[in-house]
């Protein structure tokens, strides 16, 4: 691959909330010029179908990530104390199959990412597989007032042609046919 100058826009991690009361989950990333652009792109990429009520984005460089394996090897997050501020913590709790994401756990007040991680470990368990620690001001959120929330996510609800259920069953179900086989 050619080693030209890196002119790509910065990378933003995207957190999606599927429904009211559910946790935001890290679902992937987009490249974008600014937070608004990142949110719009995230909506196009990750909320083309229902099951989204909120999106958060954060610059990849503002996310402090560490795995259990790294912690066991003695790695830590930046620990130089600064002013105390809220940090959002995300964790991945399970290895079961594929559908395990880095999920929002809550907020802690700390003076450094490492201090936030230590608090989070105390509060949410020391055995999580992946931790992400993000200063609250680094998170940019989709609008939360009812009318704009509606215009952001409701349109996907009406697009029945995007749902596999709109196409009914054509012929017999493969499982049914398999059961008939000798």
């Amino acid at each position: 691959m050619s080693a030209g100058p890196d002119t790509q826009w910065p990378r933003w991690e995207v957190f999606k909330q599927d429904g009211p009361g559910k946790r935001h989950q890290a679902v992937g990333s987009v490249h974008a010029a600014d937070p608004q652009h990142a949110l719009y792109t995230a909506r196009s990429v990750f909320a083309r179908r229902p099951a989204a009520v909120s999106l958060w984005v954060a610059l990849a460089q503002d996310i402090h990530a560490i795995t259990l394996e790294q912690r066991q090897a003695g790695a830590t997050l930046p620990g130089t104390p600064g002013p105390a501020q809220p940090y959002r913590v995300f964790g991945k709790a399970s290895q079961r199959r594929a559908m395990t994401f880095v999920d929002d756990l809550g907020t802690v007040e700390a003076a450094s990412p490492q201090a936030a991680l230590e608090q989070a470990c105390e509060r949410y368990g020391d055995d999580l597989l992946v931790w992400w620690v993000v200063p609250e001001p680094a998170l940019h959120r989709s609008p939360e007032d009812a009318p704009s929330l509606d215009s952001w996510f409701a349109p996907a609800q009406d697009k029945t042609y995007r749902q596999q259920g709109s196409y009914g069953l054509v012929g017999r179900h493969p499982g049914e046919r398999r059961r008939e086989q000798p």
């Binding site: 691959m1 826009w9 990378r11 010029a33 990429v45 083309r48 795995t67 042609y161 196409y167 054509v170």
Partner: protein
């Protein structure tokens, strides 16, 4: 590939043993975890090729958006093409977690250095081809991707889960479209049959060379990247699709196709020389597809410049 060849300088057999024990326990490997350089290299190769395939896959069907026979079909096709773009994004993201950059991957695609699935180098001759791609090509892709959803690398497997749930919509709308034609007028039935004749063999070939000729399979299986071989996935694809195509009243262009004693559908010999000619760009639309991508990239330059200028103007001054 020998044991020695897989352990790169700076890596120890103990690290490999611990890594392979994790795979054996069914654990997902996450970005940041230790992994063999060869595991990382193979994943970047596979994931970026897969991402490029999604992006180029927009072209054969995108050509038909303006010619869709009804507004409903147009909306469906637009949603599908938009999905393919999204799938490319999910996958580029998964490759980025391994240290590849989006820009380098796109450069490799646009310069022709990177490969993508040769299935997208076949032309779409009629509207029925659009349906047949949904049924057969997306059907074959789902079989492969369902397997990859269980792979050992966390971000890749998660991308695959999302992609499979969306591909199921592509598969069903394609099947619905073809079955509608197969039950239609003589002319419509002929259109569906011609499309099947064109896409049957390419769809079988897109699942890759036979196991005996597949150079990367050993190490990919050992590290839990591929959980089934090309021939196993192809067999699953046949067993699901042959009965459905026959039920729709279509005939499959393979005189040697038959069911064995176990009820599995067996195909006749595949013409791999044709496959390799398309992979190498000697046949098919490789040059045209790349030229279209390059043109689209150039035509979008002003948008990228405008976005950057806007971001610079509105950025809070330090």
């Amino acid at each position: 590939m020998t044991e020695a060849a897989r352990i790169h300088p700076g890596e120890t057999p103990e690290q490999h043993a611990a890594f392979e024990a994790r795979i054996q326990r069914g654990e997902k490997i996450e970005p940041g975890d230790w992994m063999p350089a060869e595991y990382r290299r193979q994943l970047i190769r596979m994931i970026s090729q897969h991402a490029h395939s999604e992006v180029v896959g927009m072209l054969p069907e995108g050509e038909w958006i303006t010619r869709a026979p009804s507004l409903r079909r147009k909306l469906i096709l637009m949603a599908k093409v938009q999905d393919e773009a999204g799938h490319g994004q999910y996958l580029y993201h998964a490759a980025e977690t391994l240290g590849a950059t989006r820009e380098a991957m796109l450069d490799a695609l646009l310069s022709g250095q990177a490969k993508y699935s040769s299935i997208f180098n076949y032309p779409t001759r009629s509207w029925a081809d659009v349906g047949m791609i949904g049924w057969l090509v997306d059907g074959a892709a789902i079989k492969n991707q369902t397997m990859l959803a269980g792979c050992s690398y966390g971000p890749y497997s998660r991308a695959m889960v999302r992609i499979c749930s969306e591909e199921t919509f592509h598969h069903k709308q394609g099947k619905e479209m073809i079955v509608t034609y197969a039950r239609g007028t003589a002319g419509q039935r002929q259109m569906a049959q011609d499309a099947l004749n064109r896409w049957w063999w390419p769809a079988l070939m897109m699942l890759g060379p036979h196991d005996a000729d597949s150079p990367n399979s050993g190490v990919l299986t050992r590290w839990g990247i591929k959980l089934k071989s090309n021939d196993e996935v192809r067999q699953q694809f046949l067993d699901e699709h042959v009965p459905e195509l026959l039920e729709a009243g279509l005939s499959i262009p393979d005189p040697l196709l038959h069911q064995d004693e176990q009820g599995h559908w067996r195909h006749g010999p595949i013409d791999w020389s044709e496959f390799w000619a398309v992979v190498k760009g000697e046949r098919g639309l490789n040059r045209e597809r790349l030229a279209t991508r390059q043109q689209a990239h150039q035509d979008g330059a002003w948008v990228r410049e405008a976005m950057s200028a806007y971001a610079a103007r509105t950025a809070p001054t330090a």
